[in-house]
């Protein structure tokens, strides 16, 4: 029973001085990230549960989801702001979570670097794309078949 576990220094970068080998803090980024996970988690409970309830439980549930349904929601600034906040918070929360997991399991410096490079690139693409979609969306696109559009669109 003399097996001892070697506890390695965290590989996350900036950590409190008592947890580093070199004994000085390299800033408070990790502390901020830790706090952000908790604050964004609290807000996401409301945003995600509201999203699931309105899209899956009300009315006809999943069956109602089509272009007209999305257009009807995003014609309202309330749902634009809701979905925008959910997009940013969930992506940043999820990205930071996956960053932690990469730091935990990828032991080689090069592997860690490349996994995180791919992660950050994917995150940037998804956040930019999602934001553009919410802001440049037209609920009544010209030349679209009228029966696919929400009822409030002017007749062609």
């Amino acid at each position: 029973m003399a097996a001892t576990t070697e506890i390695q220094a965290p590989r996350s970068g900036r950590v409190a001085p008592e947890y580093t080998r070199h004994g000085r803090s390299r800033g408070s980024f990790e502390m901020f990230a830790w706090l952000f996970m908790r604050v964004s988690g609290l807000v996401l409970v409301v945003l995600v549960f509201g999203h699931l309830f309105v899209n899956l439980m009300v009315g006809e549930g999943v069956h109602a989801i089509d272009f007209g349904f999305v257009a009807g929601k995003w014609a309202d600034p309330f749902w634009q702001v809701w979905d925008l906040a959910m997009l940013w918070l969930a992506m940043l929360h999820g990205t930071n979570g996956v960053r932690t997991i990469i730091n935990d399991y990828a032991e080689k410096d090069g592997t860690r670097f490349w996994l995180k490079a791919v992660l950050y690139a994917a995150t940037a693409v998804i956040i930019v794309l999602g934001t553009l979609v919410i802001f440049t969306f037209d609920p009544c696109p010209p030349n679209a078949a009228a029966e696919l559009l929400p009822a409030f669109c002017p007749a062609p």
Binding site: R38, V45, F49, L56, G61, D66, I126, G130, L132, L148
Partner: protein, 127 residues
């Protein structure tokens, strides 16, 4: 209980398994979210493109996968609140195991009505 864990308080049992569950569900939700933003972005291509892709989701297999996804999100959300309580509430660490059973209980309370409604809609409702 005589089984004092050697070396760490957190190994095995509620503390460790809830952490494993939180990690697995977190990653699964993240990868789903990447795909979900992409499929929703099709509204910017054309109403037809969006409807065609969304309609491929409206079948029993996807309904089951959606139920699994919601189950993962609800667990991650409630366990996330438990993690926050463990970190910020004075008695949190002492009651971390009981809190997990609270999470599981709440998860059942939310999932049962959700499954009844979602699976009924998916298997019988609609057009």
């Amino acid at each position: 209980m005589s089984k004092t864990p050697a070396g760490t308080l957190y190994r095995g049992r509620e503390g460790m398994w809830s952490w494993v569950g939180h990690r697995v569900t977190g990653v699964a939700i993240f990868f789903f979210l990447l795909v979900h933003v992409l499929d929703t972005a099709l509204v910017r291509v054309s109403p037809e493109a969006y409807n065609v892709v969304i309609n491929t989701y409206k079948n029993p297999i996807m309904a089951i996968l959606e139920a699994g996804l919601v189950a993962a999100i609800v667990f991650h959300a409630f366990n996330g609140l438990r993690v926050i309580l463990v970190d910020f509430w004075k008695k949190g660490p002492k009651y971390q195991a009981q809190l997990l059973w609270g999470v599981v209980g709440l998860w059942v309370v939310v999932m049962v009505p959700f499954l009844i409604r979602h699976l009924t809609l998916a298997f019988t409702g609609g057009h």
